[in-house]
Symmetry: C2
Subunit: 298 residues, 2 copies
């Protein structure tokens, strides 16, 4: 399905997508003339701080896989990355994970203080919905897209997973509980990414469902990979504090399955992801992306 030897072209493609996303994120910040600078500055700091941009790239690729154009997907892509970024800002707060380093830079509250970091997170979360509802070209799809995003990011999705994650520290270590946390905390937003891309392109329900399923399994693979890297990599490589999960007694794939077991779980989930989109002709770039993610722990 893909030429695995051609990794330089694949890397270039990903860099190009990342550049498209970066430019759009900057452009879709709230306008300086109507936004207090004391708020816009910390919002911008974390939003343009880099990162893999994997979620917005998934929106774009899912949209392309359904025959859609980038301009149809970019508002949703930016909205999703704003929500991911807000969650990192709040996650790093002293009352939460209390972290000093993110994307290779000091965390938001270390630069602007806790109050500004809380508000910058709130503002990015809220602004995400403004961007999605104002800028998405297919107006008829907006109600469904807002539902998808709010559901995936909210109490039945990402925030719910974060609450379980905090509550699980030092507690129960069953595989079932781990899956529940990872599905909410990580997979929900990945599934929303590919679903939003499909909706943005005006896809048929069956195709949108398949892409959503792909996103969910990719998210579970991604989280297992992330857990392995937290154990095996340095903070320099990660751009965030390494070995943190263990110190905080987090419930992770490596705690439940061991490092090798977590690798196997990542491989299993990535196969399920690829199965989900095997019937979609335009999805070859998503296959590439899946393989590239797996190479991080190869």
């Amino acid at each position: 399905m893909t030429d695995a030897s051609d990794s330089s072209v694949r890397t270039e493609g990903l860099e190009e997508l990342r550049a498209i996303v970066e430019a759009e994120l900057e452009r879709r910040l709230p306008p300086p003339e109507s936004t207090p600078e004391v708020l816009r500055e910390p919002m911008r700091y974390s939003l343009v701080a880099g990162g893999k941009r994997i979620r917005p790239i998934l929106v774009l690729l899912a949209c392309r896989a359904c025959g859609g154009r980038d301009d149809e997907a970019l508002p949703a892509a930016c909205a999703l990355e704003m929500i991911h970024t807000y969650s990192l800002i709040h996650d790093d707060l002293p009352a939460m994970d209390d972290d000093d380093l993110r994307r290779g830079k000091p965390t938001n509250h270390r630069v602007y203080g806790e109050a500004s970091a809380i508000l910058a997170g709130d503002a990015l979360l809220t602004h995400a919905f403004a961007v999605l509802a104002s800028d998405t070209p297919r107006r008829d799809r907006i109600p469904a897209m807002v539902q998808v995003l709010a559901h995936a990011a909210g109490p039945n999705g990402m925030v719910g997973g974060q609450a379980l994650d905090l509550a699980a520290e030092g507690g129960e270590t069953s595989p079932e509980h781990l899956v529940e946390i990872h599905e909410l905390k990580t997979a929900a937003l990945f599934a929303a990414a590919t679903r939003l891309g499909a909706e943005a392109a005006g896809a048929e329900p069956a195709t949108a469902n398949a892409l959503e399923r792909y996103g969910k399994h990719l998210g579970l693979a991604f989280q297992a990979i992330d857990d392995v890297l937290d154990v095996e990599s340095s903070s320099d490589v990660l751009g965030k504090t390494a070995g943190k999960d263990e110190r905080q007694a987090k419930l992770t794939s490596t705690v439940v399955h061991g490092v090798d077991g977590a690798r196997e779980e990542a491989a299993r989930q990535s196969r399920l992801a690829l199965d989900a989109i095997s019937g979609i002709a335009g999805a070859s770039t998503l296959v590439d992306l899946t393989e590239q993610l797996m190479e991080r722990i190869a």
Copy 2:
């Protein structure tokens, strides 16, 4: 325009509206079976803690003024109250206003801890958009309504005002800066309330604009009233800590205008509010509501 002697009926009407809102808020919390209890419980605690419910009531009354039904307005009304509630939870955090009392009860973080309070706020904010986009009967109005709500609550609205409010503590005390803060911090969400009610009813643009203008001026009146009450009332009466603004060196109407001047400002803004809806036949309940609010500082 209204029979001011008939205050018992008016009070009853308001109580009835409040009861409608209370019942709906409870019903529109995320379902227990798919929401982690560690998150749903702190969300519920603050959302059903009472309060005047003035914003959702404004949504209902604006919708009725345009000939709409309550079921058309209730999703937006609940969404707005969820956003107002999240802003109170985050505002009360130690890193922000550091308050122990809200709506006559211990603040969210005093009961559940800071991490849960941050997440409960995030969850209410996100869930508000799910409710608005999932449950609003007039699907064609949803994109505009999401835009209105996100804009009013976001960096160009409420959160922007909170950021300015924090930055203004102990600083500049010009009337212009005060107006800027109050327009963003309070009036934006009031204006959104009446605009959302109009949109929910499928109102014509001219009527929706008039109601939005009414909401804005009512919000400015409300904030001036709130500033007067903070100086003149006890914590028991307010259900939140009285005299707090002065201790935190907040920029308020009473600081800029004095207590009598703030009363005059409230009266002036409420007249502007009433002017805005003088041409709307169905708006007599909004006239009643305006007068009742003014009576709080009479």
